[in-house]
Amino acid sequence: MQIGFRPKIVAFCCNWCSYAGADLAGSSRLSYPADVKIIRVPCSCRVNPMFILRAFEKGADGVIMCGCHPGDCHYSTGNFYARRRMTLLFSMLDFIGVENGRCRVEWVSAAEGAKFSQTMNEFVEKICSLGENVRLSNLRKTGSQQTAFTINTEKRETHRLVGAVVTDASWTGEGSKVSEKEENGNQMSVVTGDPEAGQYEPECGSQTAKTEESLKIRLAQLLESGKAARVLGWKKGETDYDPEPAFFENKDELGAFVYNDFCGANLSKYMIEAAGLDGVTAVVLKPCDTYSFNQLMTEHRVVREKTYIIGVGCCGKLSISGIRAQGVTGIEENGIEVTDDRIKIKTVYGDREIERNSAMLERCGVCKGKEHRIFDELIGESRDTTICAGTGKACGSAAPDSTVSNAAAGRENSGKDQRFAEVERIEKLSAKERFEYFSNELSRCIRCNACRNVCPACSCIKCVFDGNQFDEAAKANSEPFEEKMFHIIRAFHVAGRCTDCGECSRVCPQNIPLHLFNRKFIKDINELYGEYCAGYEAGSVSPLTRFTMQDAEPSVVTERSKGC
């Protein structure tokens, strides 16, 4: 413990029990260090994770939250909710590498003055042993308010840069010899498989085309018969890989309708706006989009009666960034031809052929199952697209639309366990490595809010980061910690509501694996509070809005991570 180090500790005490316990410790003269400053809140359930992150951001070295013993809460259920929220928050803070001794929850009743002072003494001692909150303060001091790389105008240490690693990138003039990527940079967990992998029954490439045809006919009928005032689907873009979501009002507009392997956008978020228009809107939803629609229905954001859902088969969606990451550029007009396990691309630099899985979206590799959760009719076949992380080959031995047997969202399909493989890999890293990993990833964030605006669960009319209620600079990282706070708080707001549709990672221009935050929360919820899949059926109650008497204590995070 550095000598002379005076930790800054913030204590949130609930007015009825722990604040009274603190007073009792005071009146019985049971001393504890002066570094602890107490903030009174009506109940432990009033402590918003933003307060705790704000305290860390403003230089606190430790934050402790005290509340009544579970069952004794003056508001009867307050501390149960607080217990769940804090457990998930501490688990996330531990996940990004903040030493988990830094935050703690303690239940202190009004009669336990001695316990209060003893807890405070223990906590201060623990924080002193951990020392100053070096990681976060470093981030604040070095990362000045300019973005990480711009030269700050203060002094520049002249030092001889020896041995800067320059990649073996080759840049010869004619015909780009592209440096082979040993690990597909932006598709975190999808490993490029070898060509002769995967044996599938039906020709999927042509299957999507068949689906498109039948979709067009059916949608035209819907518009014709007046059953639907408008149709929400995808419109053909300039090239094959950039279909854009669009509303179609009449038959001839449907000519531009397209449904191909690049239609990755989740259309359920547009249904919020469509709920305001009069007449029925027919919408084309992939299996993973229906989870989001269910969730929006639970939250009364969409109107079921004004929606006609066509569940469309899905063979796993591709993204151009997957193709680009393999150095394929200069694609000619409609030069992409997708078969079920290969993609043939005609480019100005010669023709290329790549593995279909390598361009597939990360979420399709761990698909939750091809069963539509809500639909009025089904068109087209799906094909299992889960990829075993280890072999990279498709594990989909099951029939094309793998049925989801038990209620826990496809525990069967082996692809599902891979969903948390990446989270588990990071959890095994040491706290320091985790912090390095996330600082590095999130330092690329340019605060463009694409992840927030595309997310069907993040559908607030006015986002808390836009208002000045928490006076956060929504647009710029005036404090580098804020990028992390933005992403943690966003993940927290959608915890229990996020259907893991993977849109946030798909749209991130800097390809930050944002889905890790949401999956970490889903994994924790499954482990601590029982298997729960948001949107599995409409009307399900999110784990953060319910509790049981025997929930795990927040200290479970410290025990669990005693290992690494």
Binding site: Q145, Q146, T147, F149, T150, I151, T153, E154, R160, L161, G163, A164, V165, V166, T167, W171, T172, G173, E174, S176, G185, N186, E238, D242, E244, P245, A246, A265, R324, A325, T329, G330, E332, E333, V348, Y349, N440, E441, S443, R444, I446, R447, C448, N449, A450, R452, N453, V454, D466, A473, K475, A476, N477, S478, E479, E503, V507, P509, Q510, N511
Partner: protein, 389 residues
């Protein structure tokens, strides 16, 4: 003209970095962005497009303007220090450099933005010839020649040689500085120093200055480099091949008829905007990756004892961009969507004698979550123009 073999790039970068800060395309977990050159960093000169343009080096995403401290009653304002040290930005492509010229017209026009001006004066821009233009590039439509990027100096990689030629005085001074460092570092063994007296003319045909410098070609390790003439030939052939490739790219032949200064009056009220804007999410991706977006916001940040006012990028697509206390002139997303493209293709050219505020880099095409972009807007109006004309 400086030629250095590609596997000695490391020393070149060290040389530059020892003198001044160096910013160049750097890879971080598969994403190539402009970043400061320091040890342990993966340089990716071969990457065509970075996610964010190098605009960040001259007009940073957030930058302190001044901090104002208050003791008891009186306020004291201390402006932030302007950039006073030279720095080099290596590897900017033609579209980025044109983006800088577009920004110059904004920030260097009267009244001059001091912060931007200081960075522009101290910054040395080393352009780079594009090696593999993507299909989303359409810089030719805006008159940007990707083989002649411009900037203070232009670098081009041909075969295993990296050629850097100075385009102006600043570029020349920069090359001299490098060559001194390279000589002093006894690294000059296989790099030929060329001092081109006058700038190489655009079409690169007659280079009078080159002939008489031939005897200066010092090659320490004794391998006699082939005459520099065929280097120049290889360079020209390489540029020619790149130009031929750009012809074949689909979007390069985009026509801008009906935009810029001769935009029809009623384009503002055209019903087409209503159809085009629908999928837009109002996120700020297109504006934050665009090399020419100039809009910024000024906000406060309370540092405890003093208040720091800083400038940060803002996006006209955000809902609170024009929000005032008593209302908002642009309430619907359609108006904001229209404003973005009208500014790029109509208002800016009207204020800056016809130069478009778009350089055709194609970043917004690559990065828009819902695949909306400026090319679709132009083509939509082009189609609409054909129908009812």
């Amino acid at each position: 003209m400086l030629k250095i073999s590609t596997d000695r790039i490391n020393e070149l970068m060290d040389a530059i970095a020892s003198k001044m800060d160096l910013i160049l395309p750097v890879e971080n977990n598969g994403q190539v962005n402009f970043g400061i050159y320091e040890s342990g960093v993966r340089v990716r000169l071969d990457a065509l497009k970075t996610v964010k343009s190098a605009k960040d080096a001259f007009f940073p995403q957030s930058e302190t303007l001044y901090s104002c401290s208050k003791d008891l009653k009186n306020l004291s304002v201390t402006p932030a220090k302007l950039m006073d040290r030279p720095f080099a930005v290596f590897g900017m492509k033609g579209c980025d450099i044109r983006g800088l010229e577009v920004l110059d017209r904004v920030f260097l026009s009267d009244p001059v933005d001091g912060f931007y001006k200081a960075r522009r004066e101290n910054g040395i821009v080393i352009g780079m010839v594009c090696n593999t233009p993507w299909e989303s590039c359409f810089c030719k439509a805006f008159g940007v020649d990707c083989t002649e990027p411009g900037g203070d100096a232009t670098a081009c990689v041909v075969g295993d040689g990296l050629f850097i030629e100075a385009n102006n005085e600043k570029g020349k001074a920069f090359l001299e500085m490098i060559s001194e460092v390279l000589i002093s570092e006894t690294l000059a063994d296989n790099c030929i120093m060329r001092d081109t007296v006058e700038t190489v003319s655009k079409d690169g045909t007659e280079k009078t200055a080159l002939e008489d410098d031939k005897e200066q070609s010092v090659s320490k390790d004794g391998t006699e480099k082939t005459a520099d003439a065929d280097d120049m030939e290889k360079l020209r052939a390489h540029k020619e091949s790149i130009r031929r490739i750009t012809e074949k790219l689909p979007l390069m032949s985009l026509s801008l008829k009906g935009w810029g200064t001769e935009t029809p009056k009623d384009r503002f009220d055209s019903p087409l905007w209503e159809k085009l804007y629908k999928p837009c999410l109002a996120c700020g991706t297109c504006t934050f990756v665009c090399p020419t977006c100039q809009c910024y916001d000024i906000k406060d940040h309370d540092d405890g004892d003093s208040v720091r006012r800083y400038r940060c990028w803002d996006s006209c697509m955000y809902s609170d961009f024009t929000l005032m206390a008593h209302g908002n002139p642009r309430t619907s997303q359609m108006q904001r969507f229209r404003q973005r493209f009208m500014h790029k293709l109509v208002y800016y050219p009207q204020n800056n004698d016809g130069i478009f505020s778009c350089t055709g880099c194609g970043r917004c095409i690559d990065k828009c979550p819902q695949s909306l972009n400026i090319v679709k807007v132009i083509k939509a109006f082009e189609k609409e123009g054909k129908e009812n004309v």
